[in-house]
Symmetry: D2
Subunit: 246 residues, 4 copies
């Protein structure tokens, strides 16, 4: 059983009729509906305007993989919460999946070590290319699939060199994007995935949903992680002495 | 169900009483005994002196992950068989795990693009360090474990830069080794793991066995792989035309 | 001084009036003309139909970086020559740059460990994106530049995961391509660069030329390389004994 | 000409007679003395207790590569200064080299996205192994070299997976360390190098010094970097329109 929390800023869906028409219960609810069909996943919803910004300790510390969608209110997220997320991810207790405009969210920027910057423009046609057909996040995904409309997200994307580049996006206006990228930080696993503009229907696309599910399985913590993360340990007994105890 | 074939040169165990005393049925049998406790794995044994060098098409084409141990008879392996293994791995139909002296085997060298060279010396104490506690191949493995005796395998190891470095070996005489390394080639996943000298007991070590099992799960093929591998396709219909069919 | 040899199949320029009109002295000569403006580079031309397929030992062993363009005659290249190239690159004595259709050449396939397969189609507009503005191969290159016409080369490209992805290509028909990719194999450095169809004028584009020059500097050998490559050395004196000699 | 600033906490050299005896003018001065022999480098010294913590804007903005050594006073470094360093590095205006205990410095941790944690212990023998003989940072370095005494720094080291692992350290007590590691973040290049305990003489070792010099050349900025880093740009004119201007 993997415990998944989908954190959504959940403002656009309330303030915009156009967004509400697409995702009446929030885009996180659309993702949850799909994930709930997998019995191995236990999925919770969480929102910025919930108590403790949706992530009180009892929720955060009970989450194996945290999905994050934010856009207009990145700055409102408490720095203390970001620190807690970072520590939990670096310790290998929780994976993190940044969705669409979360490229510019506080936790993504701090986790990865990036400004999060990219170029962006009008909604348009996108073709998503599968660059690593052997990667577990690409399981079941054909060599490409198409999205009728997505917000233009373009290179330059200030992520340096990801640990694996699984998907690349082609946009009608002449742009490309490293759209699906894996990062290892500390003992934590982080995935960025570009589709998901609030005005588009990407979270109903079966391939987008499958990729998100695959990413949850990829990012879930593997024991033992780093117990050391909050305490750089002083070694007083040389490891080599262990041979004497065999 | 993952179909695993453990290919063993299986000569030392017949020619050396000392090796036979350690692995009476072959070192592949020792690995199989452990893997058989996992119901998800269906494990076959295969040896160089079997018919078709142990890998007739009906076996090879029914194998999801191939483990390979060879040493004194690398040159006897048929080039045609190596080509078949390479194609199957590059297509993403089969993972490949190279054990110990298989660093110098024909399939490993051809798959990876390496001479396979390393330095080597007398049997001695080894400490294996876990460098990526979040990697699935490191699941359940502590930050280090010790092997009372292993053959010295040392850098320089001519593997360039692996796609992930999961384990590093410390040797008593002052050497280190990139001992557990992942490679992506085509749509195939390949893992090299250093312990396993025929005169040592490493294939009875619970951590060594767990790592091998983890590696099998990591290397198993994910659909769809590359169907194109034997035929670089000419595109006669632009992908962009697919938008018209929506 | 870096000694550069540009190896060209040099058949299309003789058999096709259309190609000859673009590259009257061969496409390798167009590249040489640009490189000759750099006093640090000493550039030789070499062709398949020259003696010893253009690479007698005295030339090969005097080459720091080998550029390779081949297309219709990949199969004619001698396997012995390919083996010599591979050994020299793996030893860290020579860098290798594969241009355009050399993705399917014998040396590229053997060096990298790849089938070399990709998809391809009609000539069309391409936009080249700079994905790693800090990479030395991207020095002086803006965030993107455009090529009026190039042959469509598309993903899936069976190169697994390159060690660095510096450029990505956008094609008019809806395709993308990992167009500029770095590989480390043994102690050798290899760069693949996609533009250069014989019917297009890419080898007159100043950015394409600059990238090729940058790649030469990046791929040039750094001492000491691997002396061990042809001889896996047996260690008879533990490294640790060196402390006694201090 | 590369403008180098060596920032040193410069406290141990004043408070400890033992350290002062080794590095009478500070360890940064020992490094400078070596670097000054290279006419391409213009080297400045800088210390925590200097005005503006040694890095007023006119110095920081005139630095191509910043070396950083800190230990007992990490917490005293101003967060505003760390932010300025981070921005300059991510923009590709400045490389960053973290020396020894700077693994736990504010700028390293923030730049990389790491807690910086590792294990540590008593001073002892170290053997440094060259894992990437083709890497520019390894130019001129043999397959290994030895340090009579260094502080034990050991795995687990919470850096996830570096973009290149150039050196690995072997320690007498049974430990290994990823001792020389490259990171790409934004358009910036960062190198961590483990030797340099204040009680040891590593900054007089010719190989250690050569590696630091090589790292400066590797980390120096390449134009154009990311101009976008402080401003995610809105694209109002499709790139594809540029074809009309050809």
């Amino acid at each position: 059983m993997i415990k998944v929390t989908i954190w959504n800023e959940f403002r656009h869906e309330k303030s915009s009729e156009r967004v509400k028409a697409i995702y009446p219960n929030g885009l996180h609810a659309a993702i949850k509906e799909y994930l709930d069909t997998d019995e191995e996943l236990e999925v919770r919803l969480s929102a910025l305007d919930d108590e403790d910004q949706g992530l009180p300790d009892e929720v955060l510390n009970d989450t194996d993989v945290l999905l994050w969608w934010g856009h207009m209110a990145h700055k409102e997220v408490n720095d203390e919460l970001v620190d807690k997320i970072q520590t939990r991810v670096y310790m290998g207790k929780m994976g993190f999946i940044a969705l669409h405009s979360a490229h510019y969210s506080k936790p993504f920027r701090k986790l990865i070590g990036t400004s999060g910057n990219l170029s962006w423009g009008r909604d348009q046609k996108e073709i998503m290319w599968n660059l690593m057909p052997s990667h577990p996040i690409a399981a079941g995904i054909p060599d490409h699939f198409i999205l009728e409309s997505e917000e233009l997200y373009s290179e330059p994307f200030a992520i340096g060199q990801p640990d694996a580049l699984v998907f690349g996006g082609w946009f009608e206006d002449g742009h490309i994007m490293r759209s699906g990228a894996c990062f290892i930080r500390g003992a934590g696993r982080i995935f960025y995935f570009q589709p998901g503009h609030e005005y588009c229907r990407s979270y109903y696309n079966p391939y987008v949903l499958r990729i998100i599910k695959n990413a949850i399985y990829w990012a879930k913590p593997c024991e033992p992680g780093y117990e050391i993360i909050n305490d750089a340990p002083h070694i007083t007994e040389p490891i080599i002495n262990e041979f004497n105890n065999l």
